[in-house]
């Protein structure tokens, strides 16, 4: 009996060293100590593996435990060595987690205290105030010491029944949306748009301010845009509207793809080979300062067909942006990557394939983002000067024919379509650069 109380005292002392239990009242701590079981492990012995049911929490009384997260957790430090006073196996306390998130192995002869998760929760529920404080400390510890993203480190509410389903992608999205809705951002955004549209409406249609009264008003534009029989012939119900969009998108697609197909290889070569760069770059730099739009008349002279001239102009703008950024991307690669690849026996083209290309991808995609923007930019100008069909053409002819609301429809449509295309480019970049997406996600978390 004497021995048993000695042991109980020792268990309590070990629990006291664990961060979540540090400030618990003596009585509650003794109750937790009573449900804890001592486990002895030899070096190399496994405590549990990731995915096994998280039915117990462990406190290290002595020895050392290697704790390695499974990758989906997204912990900033995937591995952690835990010594006396360390707590692990807490996954069962988290919202929507039922399995362990990590694998834990003993590296030394270790003594652990094993506390059944649900019994612990019941005990903490019996003392709501202290219990909640302990749970909060668990949450903070999980986030700070284990560098688990705050999103995952949400501990259960004590009174609430444990959730059984894993935190799925959908629920994660829903969670993010609910956080966003709780922040002031969506309301500020609404205020912003309301202010913008409201002042447009007031200035043009209500107050009829001097310069504004000639402009198309908000309601006029919206009515025209959504009218099945528009006064000026262009709305979401007319096939011409989609024809113009289609023509512009098709031109941008051709120009952008051609520019990427030529600009990326040229940029890679210029970045990679000093000789090539020293010969080609001066001519490149000589042509680049000439604004793309200054090429318009020359393009019309060179290409008798207007269609080719318009595409050429959009292409030219994209091409310079893509080639230049690709070259900068290659130059941005840390020399030690190339040296490491050389050390590891990679031949010249293998270095190119495995180091130069992936290493410059972030810059290439920055370049492509810029490229798609300037592609639209010059396409609109070219269409305005010398186009048939296309959104730039719509804007210009509507001006000439005094169809003012259609000008705004054209502008808004351009904005929407332009935004959609650059979003597509960004998605393609994220898809190709998983490593970067994950790094960025971690650095934000």
């Amino acid at each position: 009996m004497e021995l048993a109380t000695e042991e109980a005292r020792e268990v309590s002392a070990a629990l006291r060293e664990a961060a979540p239990f540090r400030d618990l009242p003596e009585g509650l701590l003794a109750q937790i100590a009573a449900i804890a079981r001592t486990v002895r492990l030899a070096p190399g012995e496994r405590v549990y593996a990731a995915g096994q049911p998280a039915d117990s929490i462990y406190v290290v009384a002595s020895g050392r435990i290697d704790h390695v997260f499974k990758r989906e957790v997204g912990a900033r430090e995937a591995m952690k060595r835990i010594g006396r006073g360390g707590v692990f196996g807490w996954a069962g306390l988290l919202l929507g987690q039922t399995g362990h998130l990590a694998t834990a192995n003993a590296t030394e002869p270790s003594v652990l205290l094993r506390i059944p998760t649900e019994e612990l929760v019941k005990l903490l529920e019996s003392e709501p105030v202290e219990g909640k404080a302990a749970m909060d400390r668990f949450g903070r510890m999980i986030q700070a010491e284990f560098t688990v993203p705050s999103l995952l480190a949400q501990v259960r509410r004590l009174s609430g029944a444990p959730m059984t389903e894993e935190m799925s992608r959908l629920s994660l999205t829903m969670y993010r949306i609910s956080v966003w809705m709780k922040s002031p951002r969506p309301y500020l955004m609404l205020i912003g748009f309301a202010l913008f549209l409201g002042s447009w409406y007031l200035a043009v249609e209500v107050l009829r301010l001097p310069r504004f009264k000639d402009m198309p008003g908000l309601t006029t534009v919206v009515k025209e845009w959504t009218s099945p029989s528009p006064t000026y012939g262009l709305s979401i119900y007319t096939p011409e509207y989609y024809q113009h969009i289609g023509v512009s998108v098709w031109r941008v697609t051709q120009a952008f793809l051609l520019a990427t197909a030529l600009g990326v290889p040229l940029g890679l070569l210029m970045g990679w080979s000093t000789k090539f760069r020293e010969y080609v770059f001066p001519v490149f730099e000589m042509l680049r300062p000439i604004p793309i739009l200054a090429w318009v008349p020359l393009a019309i002279v060179m290409f008798i067909a207007t269609e080719s001239a318009v595409i050429f102009l959009a292409f030219l703008a994209s091409f310079f942006a893509t080639a230049l950024n690709t070259m900068l991307g290659v130059q941005s690669i840390d020399e030690s990557y190339v040296r490491a690849a050389n050390c590891l026996g990679a031949k010249r083209w293998q270095v190119f394939r495995h180091v130069i290309i992936p290493g410059s991808l972030p810059f290439i995609f920055t370049g492509l983002q810029i490229s798609i923007g300037v592609c639209w930019f010059s396409l609109v100008a070219a269409e305005m000067v010398s186009g048939q069909f296309g959104l730039g053409y719509v804007i210009n002819t509507s001006y000439v024919m005094v169809r003012y609301p259609t000008i705004i429809i054209g502008m808004v449509t351009l904005g929407l379509v332009g935004y959609a295309t650059s979003a597509l480019v960004r998605l393609a970049g994220d898809y190709l650069m998983q490593w970067r997406v994950r790094e960025l996600a971690l650095s934000e978390g």
């Binding site: 990758r71 490491a340 050390c343 590891l344 495995h354 790094e439």
Partner: protein
Amino acid sequence: MTKPPRAAGENRGHKMIDDVVKVYDPGGAAVMAVDHCSLEIEAGEICMIVGPSGCGKTTLLNAIAGFHEITSGRILLDGEVLCSAEKPKAEPGPDRIVVFQNGALFPWKTNLENVIFGPVMQGRMTKSEALDRGRAMMADAGLAGVEHNYPGEVSSGMRRRVEIVRALMNDPAVLLLDEPYRALDSLTKSVMHEALLEIYYKNKVTIFFITHDLEEAIFLGHRVAIMTTRPCKPKKLLTVDIPHPRDYSVLTSKRFRELMQETSEAVHEEARKAFQAGEKEG
């Protein structure tokens, strides 16, 4: 076991640095980075090179690795001339692998893909063989579980271990470590030292390790070469007569402190010289 006995066929990595001179010529003002430096490193030895930052020790490493030319002298590996006055730049190759100061794991490849990079590029193994070996070696080094993570997702200490495993996958004759633990905090560093020794006891590869940390040098090395500051040449050679395998208790031993005392004066003197030279430049 100060000089570890090596199994047959393992006796590689004997390196001679013979009278090497390196002169930089930036804009006409010749700067001597390495001055008639001679050093012989036994096969299977851990040789620590200690000197203040910017003393030219990295220049020496770059010459061995084949990143830079030398001006005169020769460097030999297992009797073969790597570089000399006639052929000033050595060919980089998988027999001498560098572990870089800031780490050079490819961030766009997962840890396992990084580890198998060498053998697959050289065509020494098929991809599946390399994957099996890579997994086994990573598990051996305590890296099980992070194979499919990208380097950016694991701790810096782990990245260093992955990088060393990536080097060892190539059966190098010599590992060239360029202050690999410089950016780590001292606690992680101590874990890394033990891990490095553990790997070394398993693989018995020759290690050429550059550092400015005297404690690290004496703890790890069979021998410690203390270099003079720019131009760089050995100032003092110290044989560390503390038997391997070592662990952290060595740090508090009497002999360790004696060796520290014996050498810290020499290191400090060079550091002061380097500091003053730096002040003059600035």
